[in-house]
């Protein structure tokens, strides 16, 4: 049991995926059962192993994957507090979203394929979490990219979905390019790829470069500035996919990876990480304020929250980052599933300005969505307040400028989330579709309720206490249930964070309560357009790619044509020579005699003169 359970956690979802792909494509019921079952069993096994881990049992397993000379690559599973937190999120929240999908995806002609991809994703994601070395992590890193690609492009007949999938994969690839170069650099410097054996002291001058290259992986996967552009488009995938992959787990993998390899980062690289996180948080929060598509608002919100987490790592506070990662997984998954429930009820309408007054139509969705909105806004005593406060407190200590950005983003977060909330659930109905809306079936609402409970109490279930000892020996002696602790530990940060929440809520109420159209758009058209068009990153990148990739490719392709032409010329020259020589072969005896005589005369001339 002890030896096989770790492998089972990882490989059961893969097994489910393979079985569904090969045999259950036409049997939707069984496919869903296999997929949900695999995720649930993985979750239960994680709990079993967690119990053993808490009893002090060593659970790590490892085997040699590849060995060539000095290069030794392991395939191993590593269990510690960090990986358990992530395992619980991936398998736990993953299971809930799987169950929700059973209802959400019902009736789709490719039901089986959906669950095969979902299981493939769970497998790849668990692989990232459990990897004990860089190489294996990169392998699974690419595989989550693949499953994300397959799921964004799930409705591949839709051009927008197919384009979004391609864009997501390529943006991730850009990050992975740096990531892999960093891995090779680290291997060259340290001689090993295993997290436990790497000694950063060996890096020498390459330390900062190695750290920043590895960070590229995070920039791609966690959609950080300047590679943030793929995540909003990824919303073309089915909503459960957005909740699982593009909110709760995969995009958070970048943050997890930073925490996992935290020991390689130098002070300058941490500085860069913190600022990239801060810029991302601010930029995407600003964009979120003026989006109209319910899923896009949530997508920009996700990027912004990921920016918070990355920033926390930059402040050398991985526990704060992981804490926020966990609570964010709860409330953001909940927000997406709630949005999915709304979209489901509104027959695939996603424009918030066509919704409104859904409070009475969908009470469960309404109340759970409210809980999540309050949590992400950071109202005490909900989970979001505590995890965000941990980050703001770290910012307060490290960098006042980033702290100011953090507080401003907290304000914006509350503002755009309540804008969404007021427009969708309150006020009057803004289209006919609202009158046909109805609450979703229990298979969808039960996961909402569970996630809502977690979002509310997430601050008090000891996530912080579980993870902190791994990073600092002097873990504070704070009880698990301590609602007022932030105000004692870092009163300034906590008070300003709370003020940002109140202001944001107040601002959203003033501007949006009961409105039928966006007042910002009417009164500040220029600013609104800039934010709505996402500061024109997409257009800028399109030009950049055309300039630096497509144009050189066209030139090199012309070069290829030139080589072919050259070959044709050689070929032509040979043929031409042949044709000329052919003229001599007249078949006329006199000509031959004449040529022979001329040749003989020439030969004689040379012999006699030399």
């Amino acid at each position: 049991m002890n030896e096989t359970a770790p492998w089972l956690i990882l490989f059961l979802p893969l097994l489910a995926s393979v079985v569904i792909t090969l045999f259950l494509q036409r049997k939707p019921g069984l496919a869903a059962m296999a997929s949900v079952g695999a995720a649930l069993i993985s979750f239960v096994l994680t709990l079993v192993l967690l119990a053993q881990f808490l009893n002090g049992r060593a659970l790590d397993v490892s085997a040699t994957w590849l060995q060539a000379g000095a290069l030794h690559i392991d395939f191993g599973l590593h269990f510690d507090a960090l990986s358990f937190i992530m395992l619980l999120i991936v398998a736990g929240v993953g299971s809930l979203i799987h169950i929700y999908s059973v209802g959400y995806m019902r009736g789709d002609p490719c039901y089986g394929r959906f669950f095969a991809c979902m299981s493939l994703f769970i497998f790849s994601m668990l692989g990232i979490v459990l990897s004990n070395n860089f190489f294996q992590m990169f392998v699974f890193w690419e595989l989550v990219g693949l499953s994300s690609y397959l799921l964004i492009g799930f409705w591949h007949q839709k051009s927008s979905a197919a384009d979004a999938a391609k864009k997501a994969f390529l943006c991730n690839r850009l990050g992975d390019f740096g990531f892999f170069a960093g891995i090779v650099l680290i291997w060259a410097a340290a001689g090993t790829l295993n997290f436990k054996e790497i000694n950063p002291a060996l890096f020498g001058t390459a330390a900062t470069a190695a750290g920043l290259l590895i960070f590229c992986g995070t920039v791609g996967k966690s959609a950080q500035f300047p590679l943030h552009v793929w995540l909003p488009d990824a919303m073309e995938g089915p909503t459960p996919v957005s909740a699982l992959i593009h909110a709760a787990t995969m995009v958070a993998a970048g943050v997890y990876m930073l925490c996992r390899v935290f020991f390689i980062f130098t002070v300058p690289s941490l500085q860069v990480i913190a600022w990239i996180g801060g810029i991302t948080a601010l930029l995407s929060a600003l964009i979120a304020v003026q989006q109209d598509d319910i899923k896009r608002i949530l997508a920009y919100s996700t990027i912004s929250q990921l920016g918070y987490m990355v920033m926390a790592v930059g402040f050398a506070a991985p526990p704060a980052a992981m804490f926020h990662l966990a609570t964010h997984a709860f409330f953001k998954a909940l927000l997406f599933l709630g949005a999915g429930s709304v979209i489901h009820a509104m027959s695939q309408e996603q424009d918030i300005w066509k919704m409104g007054a859904l409070r009475h139509k969908m009470p469960v969705t309404y109340w759970t969505f409210l809980a999540a909105t309050l949590a992400i806004g950071g109202m005490p005593p909900l989970s979001g307040f505590y995890s965000k406060d941990a980050i703001l407190a770290a910012a307060w200590e490290h960098d006042k400028a980033l702290f100011a950005i953090g507080v401003f983003v907290a304000f914006l977060t509350t503002f755009y989330m309540f804008r969404l909330f007021f427009v969708v659930f309150l006020g009057q109905a803004k289209s006919d579709a609202v009158s046909h809306a109805h609450e979703s079936p229990p298979v969808m609402t039960v996961p909402l309720l569970i996630l809502a409970a977690l979002s509310i109490i997430g601050g008090f279930i000891g996530i912080n206490h579980f993870i902190a000892p791994q990073f600092s020996r002097a873990a504070a002696e704070v009880p698990i249930f301590a609602p007022f602790e932030p105000f004692k530990a870092a009163p300034g940060a906590a008070a300003l964070g709370l003020a940002a929440f109140v202001l944001g809520l107040f601002g959203a109420f003033l501007l949006y309560a009961g409105k039928r159209s966006d007042p910002i758009r009417e009164n500040a058209a220029g600013l609104s357009r800039l934010m709505r068009d996402k500061f024109y990153f997409d257009e800028f990148y399109a030009k950049l790619v055309a300039l630096f990739h497509d144009t050189p490719a066209a030139i090199l392709n012309l070069g290829d044509q030139a080589i072919k032409l050259l070959v044709r010329l050689v070929h032509g020259a040979v043929e031409w020579t042949g044709r000329v020589l052919r003229l001599i072969q007249t078949g006329n005896l006199q000509t031959y005699t004449l040529l022979m005589a001329a040749g003989a005369a020439l030969a004689l001339y040379f012999i006699l003169t030399h």
Partner: protein, 500 residues
């Protein structure tokens, strides 16, 4: 009789028998071709399993040697080590798959199968041979049918030119190789002259070839073998040639035949002339990078699927050249893994594009789109193949490329970083664009038939299985490859001026 002899003799013998059967016994002809190649494949699998099961050690297994023309130093000598066992397995699987997917051929079947079997059997024999004479002659035997196959059963308006071009290019390469091999032979003292690779290697290890001789013989072999593998800038024959070739021929040529040059470099050129190899390493690296970047960029511009695959296959070969140029154990191992992986991959992609060509009557990607809905099997397999083509883990090519990067880093960080760019970004761009324009999108089709029967799906499955098995369990290949390339790596790294 050694297993290896059987593996390559079966297709050749079948070709001989087919030549004697009347051409209108079409069912018998196809059955016999299938049977022979299937038997050859099964034997190759058996040999590989036996081989992989044994502990890795330098030296050869399944060795067989018969004196033949001893006065000239020629003997029949076959044997397998880590360097060629994987290639033989891959070649046998590709040959069987190529025969399987040729069911749509309906003109001159007899001649088609005879040529296909000659091609496949010849190249398998060349890989198995440990005697330069058979090594060379069997490869020549495999080269010639390509000309006829493209000219007679080929497609496209340029097929005649393509047939001439491919044949002239490859003949030129083979000629250079012949000159180089003869020069090597003549470097031995008159009494001890031999074509036996094992003896040659041992002799030149004990008595290194004179630097002066090395420096003009090595380039002959490098560019000779290089042309055979479409080394940049001698690559333009490949995309056009494969674009016009009938599916089965393209599979064997791109998958198996093309590996001969790389194999020759590692088997003959490097161990015999390590000093020169070190000198030329930088050139090989730059040219390999040329393959990766230049041909990758060219692939990005193609709108014809076969030209895209052809360019991409040329680009992939660059990674193998980079592995060789790294002059390190890790790089060599990576190069051999790429050779095997790319064989499966190239054969698979050409098999798939051939099916598409038969169904759609065109390979213009601008006219495709939305095909996945109607061709779920072919589409899924091709998407997997294209993902393998842009270096996705889980497929064998990934490990090969990764090993090349790890091996190449010590020699040049810049070249390695550019190669990583080529592997992850350039390949990603053209593969994903191709998936987008062929399989995804709103266009709808009718009158398209997907493969539904197990029988028809099997060859694709076999090739895919090769990619996945070695992609998940790379040690099946690498343990033995490492053991076999260690002596080569030691020889080249003993040369002063080697890698830091």
């Amino acid at each position: 009789m050694s297993l290896l002899t059987l593996i390559f003799l079966l297709p050749l013998a079948a070709a001989l028998v087919l030549a004697l059967i009347p051409g209108n016994y079409r069912f018998v002809i196809r059955c016999l071709a299938l049977l022979a190649t299937c038997a050859s494949m099964v034997l190759a699998v058996v040999a590989f399993c036996k081989f992989a099961g044994r502990a890795s050690a330098p030296g050869f297994q399944f060795e067989e040697q018969h004196a033949w023309a001893s006065s000239a130093g020629i003997s029949y000598h076959v044997g397998a080590d880590g360097l060629n066992m994987g290639l033989i397995l891959m070649g046998a699987v590709v040959l069987f798959a190529a025969v399987c997917v040729s069911w749509r051929i309906n003109t001159r079947e007899k001649e088609y199968y005879v040529l296909l079997l000659l091609m496949g059997g010849g190249i398998l024999g060349a890989f198995a041979s440990l005697d330069l004479f058979f090594f060379y002659v069997l490869h020549e035997l495999a080269l010639v049918p390509a000309f006829i196959l493209i000219g007679v059963w080929g497609a496209g308006k340029d097929k005649n030119y393509a047939a001439y071009q491919i044949t002239l290019y490859l003949s030129l390469g083979a000629l250079l190789v012949l000159a180089g091999l003869l020069a090597v032979y003549l470097q031995m003292p008159a009494g001890a002259r031999t074509f036996d690779i094992v003896k040659l290697t041992a002799y030149f290890k004990a008595n290194p070839m004179q630097a002066g001789a090395q420096h003009w013989i090595f380039p002959l072999l490098l560019f000779g073998f290089g042309i055979l593998v479409s080394l940049y800038p001698f690559h333009t024959w490949a995309p056009t040639g494969y674009g016009s070739a009938p599916t089965g021929a393209a599979m064997i040529h791109a998958g198996v035949l093309k590996k001969f040059g790389l194999y020759g470099l590692l088997r003959v050129a490097l161990p015999l002339m390590p000093e020169s190899a070190q000198r030329w390493a930088a050139v090989i690296a730059i040219l390999g990078l040329g393959n990766i970047i230049w041909c990758g960029a060219a692939a990005m511009r193609q709108r014809d699927l076969n030209l895209l695959i052809g360019n991409s296959s040329v680009a992939h070969v660059g990674f193998a050249f980079l592995g060789i140029a790294s002059m390190s154990l890790i790089g060599f191992t990576g190069a051999v893994v790429i050779m095997v992986a790319h064989g499966f991959l190239a054969a698979l992609t050409f098999a798939l594009s051939g099916y598409l060509r038969d169904e759609l009557k065109t390979l213009d990607m601008d006219q495709m789109g939305g095909l996945l809905k109607r061709l779920p099997f072919i589409g899924t397999v091709m998407i997997m193949a294209m993902m393998a083509g842009c270096g996705l883990p889980g497929f064998a090519g990934f490990f090969g490329e990764a090993l090349v990067f790890f091996g190449g880093w010590a020699r040049s960080e810049t070249v390695t970083v550019l190669a990583i760019w080529g592997a992850l970004i350039i390949a990603g761009v053209y593969m994903l664009r191709a998936i987008r324009s062929i399989w995804h999108g709103e266009k709808d089709w009718d009158n398209l038939a997907d493969l539904t029967s197990f029988k028809r799906r099997m060859p694709y499955g076999l090739l895919l299985a090769g990619l996945i098995v070695f992609g998940c369990f790379p040690r099946l290949l690498t343990d033995h490859i490492t053991a076999s390339v260690t002596p080569v790596a030691q020889l080249v790294s003993a040369v002063p001026g080697g890698p830091r």
